[in-house]
Point group: C2
């Protein structure tokens, strides 16, 4: 069943976005009486489509239970990358339950975004996150934020780690196991070529622990998928 994010209109009806009505009419080609799922403020509703030929209405049938695996909140802190890589990361991290994406400029970034253009980029990324959330049946949409300097990554709660290429560090498994009860995991992932030494020092001063993700050479866009996968795995129950 297709899932959308909407708002409550009144006791009986839900509102969706204009683009969702278009999707219902012209992409899904739904008929009156078809059922959809709608998430409103972290609640999940079964909705019934009415009046599809003109102004679509979505009647609340009932509230549904949300079934989702528990993982801590994950804040993925990533550099600005080329569009295709960025889209892949947003889509996959969203599927795997990311809570927040923080975009930061880093020294070795190939892509520079003009301050004036960052808002239109954020709009685009937000749209991708919304669509990916619907397709992976999430009950919320991850936040996305631009922070213009790593120095501003202070005041973050929870576990703070960086994906480092340095030798003789604790690996990510040791660190996750030691911090199993944290409620947020903040992970900084560097651009191609990794974090610059001075950046890693600043992050260490801000409380980020440099950790290794193993000896495999992964492309930068694979690292977020790796970290999201292993966090899901670490919190999978074995009882």
């Amino acid at each position: 069943m297709q899932r959308y994010f909407g708002v409550r209109k009144d006791d009986k009806y839900l509102y969706l976005e204009k683009s969702d009505y278009h999707h219902i009419k012209n992409v899904m080609r739904n008929n009156d009486g078809d059922l959809i799922e709608v998430v409103v403020d972290n609640k999940l509703y079964l909705g019934c489509i009415e009046n599809v030929k003109s102004d679509v209405n979505v009647l609340i049938e009932k509230e549904l239970e949300i079934e989702e695996d528990f993982i801590p909140k994950v804040n993925l802190i990533i550099p600005i990358l080329k569009e295709q890589k960025m889209d892949l990361i947003l889509q996959k991290a969203c599927e795997m339950g990311v809570d927040k994406i923080t975009i930061i400029p880093l020294k070795r970034c190939v892509v520079r975004v003009d301050d004036k253009k960052i808002n239109s980029k954020l709009d685009r990324w937000t749209r991708i996150l919304k669509e990916a959330s619907e397709q992976s049946f999430r009950s919320n949409i991850p936040n996305i934020e631009f922070v213009d300097s790593i120095n501003k990554l202070s005041n973050l709660d929870g576990l703070k780690i960086t994906c480092s290429t340095k030798k003789n560090l604790e690996n990510v498994k040791m660190v996750l196991k030691k911090n199993k009860k944290c409620d947020t995991i903040n992970v900084v992932i560097g651009p191609e070529g990794g974090l610059d030494n001075s950046e890693e020092e600043i992050l260490n001063e801000l409380g980020f622990l440099s950790t290794t993700f193993g000896s495999r050479i992964m492309r930068v866009e694979s690292v977020p998928l790796f970290i999201m996968s292993i966090i899901n795995y670490e919190y999978m129950s074995v009882d």
Copy 2:
């Protein structure tokens, strides 16, 4: 340093493929004296480029030590998917250390490949695996094979699991932990819409254990990345 796969010519020199010489001359724009890494029969050599202006030679400087994390051999058994998804899976699974890819036709596959065309597809996929192996500094290239029926997936050694959507199954973490000493992990991943019931029954009869990968709804191309990530994580040392 760029890595290539080659063959031994004699005690002093290594041969590369024609396309690699092109890459050295025209993409990397190397000069005489530049160093490259060359893998030959699971051995790693430091090679020195000579004679780049005409017929490139690669002189053996010395043998290097291979540093790679240990994981069991992973045989990813996947349906035929659309080209873009297939390319992503091959590239990422390769980065994360897959040993073998087995392609099978499954009932819910959207893409059908003519028997006559399968060889040219396999050539293309082999090329992608070779390039991904070089870029991720692997010391071998994964095998790829086409098997025309799931009934032929008998006689596989090691752990055999399917990624199932059924309820009340053991999850993949329980199964990996119980079988930590296996030397091969064979994983069947279904197409969009999952494995057909009758297919899952055949696989169960062939000794494949149906397991759940958790409650997240992942796109089909994300599942191989998830499984490769968690296998790497499971075998990461915490000593």
